[in-house]
Symmetry: D2
Subunit: 294 residues, 4 copies
């Protein structure tokens, strides 16, 4: 299959279940909501080495937030047993400490709820109130009062939706991946947790040589090794590959984000080939086929 002259590999992305919470962070201005959201979603690229995967889903205008202030929506993705701790730590350390923030549950319809009891920080001076129809705690702090909901809906979402952008050289592949990341930023319900939304160093599970590490470079996709390893997956004329990894609320929105990202990537001159990562279909329950979604 060809799209704008770029070959789309006949393959699929293999994705996995994850639990996801959506946190609405509001602040006096959009800039302050963004600062809190950026800190709260840092050090959260991959569940392999980070405590969770997290990212900014979208900006919210004041008429989309419970308190009528500018906001940012973030998604936090983790195993069920870890998500509560991550919500407590990331809201507690990165959002309550950030100027003028308030926090609201972004999945109020979710059947499953996680308690996030941060009001203890108020040391007894905290009190309950209602903001925008939500039951929240008001906690006296040095800069005034912090407002926060303490129950967050969580849903079973999809982690690891992905595709590879391959180019005739590194800069073409990078800008193709950036165009894809820009396109995906406009899709509600998904995040790309890696820096700038792009993975420079896709990995395989385990290692052939060093048995003590959980993941290592995916040598079959390394352009500098294409003549050194058997079964290189790097097509002729390709000299660099970046991966886009997408987590989202359900399979449909992850597939939509993949499709929009790929369509944007192929507009970039020098992008030559689009593929996707899977493990032979044995590990993840979701198989998102590139030819089907485009």
């Amino acid at each position: 299959m060809q799209l704008n002259g770029v070959t789309i590999d006949n393959t699929y992305a293999e994705a996995f279940p994850t639990w996801i919470a959506r946190v609405i962070i509001t602040a006096v201005t959009l800039e302050w909501a963004k600062k809190a959201a950026t800190e709260a979603t840092g050090f959260a690229t991959s569940a392999i080495g980070c405590p969770c995967e997290a990212g900014i889903e979208c900006e919210l205008s004041p008429d989309e937030t419970p308190d009528g202030r500018p906001g940012v929506s973030i998604l936090i993705c983790a195993a069920k047993k870890k998500i509560k701790e991550q919500l407590i730590e990331r809201i507690g350390e990165c959002v309550i400490t950030s100027a003028t923030t308030a926090v609201f549950d972004g999945l109020p319809q979710a059947a499953e709820k996680v308690p996030v009891k941060l009001h203890f920080f108020g040391d007894g001076y905290e009190y309950k109130k209602e903001v925008g129809g939500r039951q929240v705690w008001a906690i006296p702090i040095m800069s005034g009062e912090y407002i926060g909901e303490e129950e967050f809906g969580i849903v079973k979402g999809v982690a690891g939706g992905n595709f590879f952008v391959m180019g005739e050289n590194q800069m073409a592949a990078l800008m193709g991946a950036q165009a894809a990341s820009d396109a995906i930023a406009g899709v509600k319900g998904v995040i790309t947790s890696f820096p700038g939304g792009i993975v420079a160093s896709g990995s395989k599970v385990g290692s052939n040589k060093y048995k003590f590490i959980p993941a290592s470079t995916n040598e079959k996709y390394c352009p500098t090794l294409k003549d050194k390893v058997p079964d290189s997956k790097i097509p002729p004329g390709v000299n660099a590959a970046f991966e886009i990894v997408i987590d989202g609320l359900d399979e449909k929105v992850v597939a939509e984000a993949m499709a929009k990202g790929i369509r944007a990537a192929v507009t970039v001159p020098g992008v030559k080939f689009i593929s996707a990562g899977n493990f032979g279909g044995n590990l993840g329950p979701y198989k998102i086929e590139l030819h089907k979604i485009l």
Copy 2:
């Protein structure tokens, strides 16, 4: 003492030792170095609840970096036993995964060294080379090659240098704190690890009511409680306080950053009072007196 009409409290900031590593991150453009640095220093506001404290120290022009590319310098601050793990995880998950990055030790003169062996990721395809006089590993990755030093100097620095910016209302105090943060951004050797460089919710050790939490709101500095708690430290006419917390390579540079920050804060209309946080001088070995440094 008065500065530009603002009262400077006759008190001191009480600060603590910490171990610090400086990581030079370079990339094809400054923007990409910043993206990696932002991710690598996220979720790192306070050692109380985060795995470390970290922040961006400064941008580096290409003639200041080992490989002649644009760069960003970050500081990672942690207890000695935790700093190696944090370097491995944050470089491994947030920088190697980021497009076009390379990593160099920013404290090559330090007597103490920490090994950060990330070349195992190369699964045997990695090799040694020299870049800008540094011994580095080149690791084949999907987008090309990652270049990284694997030994980082660490020094015993100072954490928790601080001052409070108090204003007649919340916005005046916030903008005063922002002006301070802008001024401190120009000082090499320090970081401010909180979102935007500003703390909205300064805390005290422990809690009077909830014995199971390690820190709680500092009620004596809460403006909304000034008539409800005995011994409120909120001066008349003050209705909001933000804290600036500074970590740095030594006491001198932390004091310099505090002085520059305070001088900037007092230029902002509505800022009324500058103070600093301490624990009576019993906990931290560093006492940085406001009147002395100004």
Copy 3:
């Protein structure tokens, strides 16, 4: 009328007709589209002293643009006889010169059209082609090819929709104005042409003392003059005022933007009073009443 405890003055904004073109700028990434748009809309705050009024309307995701690339929509507002020249100069000097850009008409349904013949730059090497259903010129340039439509729809829109955000001090008023500007950024069909969307120095027509200048400070709204001029319009307790000025495609969308901006401004602590600017109703045909739109 009170909104969130803030008094809304019983007055109206007096606005004026203007001709408006909408230019869709696309580029390889969103960042590059923004750089071109920022340059093209600079030096364009007020028609009194600038060649036109211009600003960024919104970002466009790849599926909203004719060429499937990330984009930015800008509005250029001027008198009918000046708009063609401004389109030619701003596209010619600021967009064609910007990396990887293409330009499309953002008002293809408009009855009135303005020719913007930039293909002469191609010196005969240019040629016609079709992109996304649009007839465009492809012009060979040093970096490749520039793609551009050469006919732009223009509509009779509304300039000078406005309101004043007044606060108990300067920082409260500024952050109130910023929250308003953030809210308005989410409204399609409008721009705020001043830096950051905010006017620090609203003016009156002419001058009482210096007859040779077209506009001068609006002393009745100057807080530092409230005890020095008769008929000061600064209410008790107000010490600073910022103005938000909005241009838009029609009166309805300007009124909507005003309403959203005011609702956001009143969420900011220290904002005390909202008013609007008019000239007694004698100059502009549009009278947008604050109490009606809220």
Copy 4:
């Protein structure tokens, strides 16, 4: 000559005299100084079609500005007879209108001075005062007071220092140009006036086909025309070229910026050739030879 494997053409940039003013813009925070500076330097890429050439020179920390606030330095470059008008209009429309700004002369040592009488805007309510050793006017405005110097030093500087970054494809050339632009941003005394510091469509004087236009595409440097025009200057293997154009206070600093930019550009993979633009040496008095400055 080769630099990092990239051929440096044995040629020179031909540059021209220009008059330059340096305007120091300060504000309550760096962000607000930047907003004013961005607006004031917009629509100012090339003196051919814009009223002037202008750009941001550098950010200033509070201890580098007359009023102890964060600041930005901009350069405005124009013919001597036009520079006064441009200072008046750009400061008057874009800086005085911007929140919390003050303006100071950035070339107080210059022998030649230009009066910029903006205090008439005060309509008689303005008054003189001293700030940081400078004689300034304080003008009452709606948001408080605007502070501004009214005499600006101007010097005879150099416009049109330049070099070309050529790459094996468009994205490699663009990122090479971006790395150059990042490097030049660190050099005090210069600006790059085009969007993002990069020119996508370098031009020649006049046109062969359309006699009525002042400048047209430089077909000898157009990659898509390399087989269609005689004497193409596009070397084998090159498929895109971007130009960096530099204005600066003197020839030495322009040469330094060119050297730093070229050194950064050649670190980018896919960059193949560096050249520079001249008119045979007949038009401009400055000839900056690439081999000499590197």
